[in-house]
């Protein structure tokens, strides 16, 4: 008889605004899929069951499960909160209906009332919380009419019957929780599963009880041993020998437990460190590389700085003479310019002087005017031969002729035209610059060489920086991906290696020392036990005492063997089932077929590995693959159950780490294992599709194993306060 959830509905629960009628999901036996994008109500849907089973809600802000009363304001639909007037009330709740077998149907309602007392709707102080009693109703499937249940224990039983608490971890899970369910770092992980699936605990209790009964039977047998003949001596000796061996056995047994505990602790520590160790080892490797690369980077950066400093020097260093670059033609240019300048200068000087005293430079007489001798004659005769007129002494014409005669004398009075101090300066410059000037021809090559060197250093720095960044990114990825902390990688490695060493030491002690010794003692003890049995038979001891001891001894041994057999059988069964599911899960992938192998460690825990066709342990697969392996074991725990598994699977985002091929395999496999599966996924959502489904979603919609499919949607672009989840039933 399986529990099948018929429906779940929400009343102002998170984004599910409105009453139960507005937010009912009808579900069926088989696979039920609720497709929703982020924020469209998947985890809220799941939270309803968390409330149902544990009175808790997983707070999406910090991923911590919290009591309803502590987060009640967050649970109420924001839209409903806004619409509630001050002093008004709003009810928030969930309702689940399920059938169990063919006779009864149950209804469970959990809810509370919140009264608004002030303005700020998100402030818990603005609301008063009033929880309502959980309401459980029961109905006959023939005459469908719910009758309330009042007895608290019965209410609890009805809730527990939906998914038995001990199976909830396999049947009610959220995403990465599957990693925790089958945590092979804990010895208890598989053992717990075996205990849930078998009566191994009963066998363990029977082992202890039959051992006790054997001891009591032996004590009673001893009381009957009254004679003092030879056989009696032998019997007493046998009893004493057995007692001694028994003491040794107990002593060795205690030591075995101690070493098993040491092994178990070390194994647990090693398994716990497995992920961090792999990370730590990688981190250490990266740290070493980083250290090395950083050192190289510092060296090159220093070289670059020194190089830059040297560049400055090259301008003024006579060996490089960079300052004179471009001055190749400076001397000839200077000479040319200087000549031109001088020529121009003289021209200008002449013009200026002419301007100032043109008579000094120009004869104011017509062409072929008289020379000095003629002028002298003209002065002497007081007559101008040019115009042939008299020029009486002291007259104006006379003075003019005198002036003409005396003209050259005034030229001594020269006026400076422009400064000419630089002639010497440039000359000196030329002399001083001679060593630089000689190098000008090779400067360009020197600069090119320097630029190549600079480029080379820059390239080196860029490469080293890129390498350092990549190493840092890789290191950061490790820290983000794993549960790794910033603990020293060396410390983790040393702790891990220490754990392995302790495991190995304990294993040697257990396998090579204690177990053989205990085995021998157990064989040895049979001799005195048989002796006691046979001697008791020959003495006058009542048969009942002898039979009591003999049977108690044999049953004690048989019970131990039965317990071991049952455990081994269940492990083998789990392995078979896990492999069957694993093959189904990976059937859509192009994976090389390997097998999942369960093996018992010296501490008694079960190790779980993926073995390839050559028998090698395959490690380091993707997260999706790892989760797939664990799902196989979860499914094996369900399907290996000797009785039919009676509980639905409720899973939120179980396939988030899977690829599409895994996802398809998952839906196929889950339908074969669980009587009902309710899977909340976003991977099948396609915002651009009319039906909001991916191709795989559409394929699954046609799959006959999929009985119902809903697509959740939220008001596009709406603020949180107006966000409302609506659903479309596709099937």
């Amino acid at each position: 008889m399986a529990s099948i959830i018929n429906s779940i509905s929400f009343n102002n629960f998170f984004n599910y605004y409105g009453n139960h009628e507005d937010n009912t999901y009808d579900l069926e036996e088989g696979v039920n899929i609720i497709v929703a994008d982020n924020g469209a109500g998947k985890s809220k849907f799941f939270n309803a069951f968390l409330w149902l089973f544990k009175d808790q809600i997983l707070d999406s802000d910090d991923k911590i499960s919290k009591s309803i009363k502590d987060v009640f304001v967050k649970i109420i639909s924001d839209k409903a909160k806004v619409e509630t007037p001050i002093r008004g009330t709003v009810e928030c709740g969930i309702k689940v209906e399920y059938t169990f077998g063919t006779r009864h149907k149950f209804q469970i309602i959990k809810s509370f009332i919140a009264t608004r007392i002030s303005e700020n709707i998100t402030d818990p102080q603005s609301w008063q919380f009033t929880p309502k009693d959980v309401e459980v109703n029961k109905s006959d499937l023939v005459i469908h009419r719910y009758k309330p249940i009042y007895d608290e224990d019965e209410k609890r039983n009805i809730i527990d019957k939906l998914i038995k608490p001990s199976f909830r971890k396999y049947s009610f899970l959220q995403g990465e929780e599957v990693d925790e369910i089958i945590d092979f770092t804990k010895k208890s992980s598989i053992e717990e599963a075996v205990q849930n699936l078998t009566d191994i605990k009963k066998y363990e209790e029977l082992v202890a009880l039959t051992e006790y009964l054997k001891t009591r039977a032996e004590e009673d047998l001893k009381t009957q041993n009254k004679d003092s003949d030879n056989q009696n001596d032998r019997l007493e000796k046998a009893i004493e020998e057995k007692s001694n061996i028994q003491k040794n056995l107990e002593f060795e047994g205690k030591k075995l437990i101690e070493f098993q505990q040491t092994y178990n602790d070390a194994e647990h520590e090693k398994n716990e460190l497995d992920k961090t160790y792999a990370n730590a080892e990688k981190r250490k490797e990266l740290d070493d590389k980083l250290k090395d690369e950083n050192r190289k980077l510092r060296t090159v950066e220093k070289e670059y700085e020194e190089f830059l400093e040297r560049i400055n020097g090259r301008f003024y260093d006579g060996n490089f003479s960079w300052i004179s670059m471009g001055f190749d033609n400076i001397v000839s240019d200077y000479k040319r310019l200087n000549d031109g300048f001088n020529e121009e200068r003289y021209k200008k000087k002449a013009l200026l002087e002419i301007e100032d005293s043109p008579n000094t430079y120009f004869h104011l007489m017509p062409v072929n005017s008289p020379d000095l001798v003629t002028l002298g004659s003209m002065i002497e005769k007081e007559h101008c031969y040019v115009c042939d007129r008299p020029a009486k002494k002291d007259s104006e014409p006379y003075k003019y002729i005198v002036k003409l005669r005396d003209r050259p004398k005034e030229n001594n009075n020269k006026k400076s035209f422009v400064k000419n101090d630089l002639k010497e300066f440039f000359g000196n410059l030329q002399i001083n610059a001679q060593p630089f000037y000689n190098k000008i021809g090779s400067i360009r090559e020197s600069v090119n060489r320097t630029r190549s060197k600079e480029q080379e250093l820059n390239d080196k720095i860029a490469k080293l920086k890129a390498k350092v960044k990549s190493l840092k990114d890789q290191r950061k990825d490790i820290l983000v991906a794993g549960s790794d902390t910033e603990n020293s990688a060396t410390a983790i490695i040393s702790q891990y290696q220490g754990a392995i060493k302790r495991m190995e030491n304990s294993r040697i002690k257990i396998d090579d020392n204690l177990n053989p010794r205990i085995k021998k003692l157990k064989t040895d003890i049979k001799n005195p036990e048989n002796e006691i049995e046979s001697l008791s038979n020959t003495q006058n001891i009542p048969k009942g005492f002898v039979d009591n001891f003999s049977i108690a001894k044999d049953l004690s041994e048989a019970t131990i063997k039965a317990k071991d057999r049952v455990y081994e059988k269940m492990i083998t069964l789990l392995e078979t089932h896990a492999n069957k599911h694993f093959q189904q899960l990976i059937s859509k992938n192009e994976l090389e077929g390997g097998i999942l192998k369960f093996e018992k460690s010296p501490s008694g825990s079960i190790t779980f590995n993926y073995i390839d066709s050559k028998g090698n342990i395959v490690a380091g697969n993707s997260e999706g693959f790892q989760r797939m392996k664990k799902f196989s074991v979860v499914m094996a725990i369900i399907s290996a159950n000797t009785t039919e598994y009676n509980y639905p699977l409720l899973a939120d985002a179980p396939i988030s780490a899977f690829g599409e091929a895994f996802t398809e395999g998952f839906f196929e496999a889950t339908g074969n294992v669980f009587p009902q599966s309710i899977i909340l996924v976003k991977e099948l959502y396609d915002v651009n599709d009319d039906m909001k489904l991916t191709k795989l979603g559409k394929r699954l919609l046609k799959d006959e194993n999929v009985k119902t499919m809903y697509v959740n949607q939220v008001t596009p672009g709406a603020e949180q306060i107006d966000r409302v989840t609506t659903k479309i039933k596709l099937k």
Partner: protein, 70 residues
Amino acid sequence: MSRNTILREILSDKELMEKYGIKEKDLDKISTSPPFYKDVVETMATIINEKDNHLSDSQIYTRIKNIYKL
């Protein structure tokens, strides 16, 4: 898992079967309910039944002694 299954599992030990003459074909017929055709069966059935009935270990031993009339 029923009491019978546990009983049969424990009694299916080869050495025990041989020593007490329990035949393979009879194994499935063995039950924790009387009549018991062998003391070894009755003893184990009593242990299983009384353990399930939450009797203490010493109370169970007293019941066992009754089988052997001690």
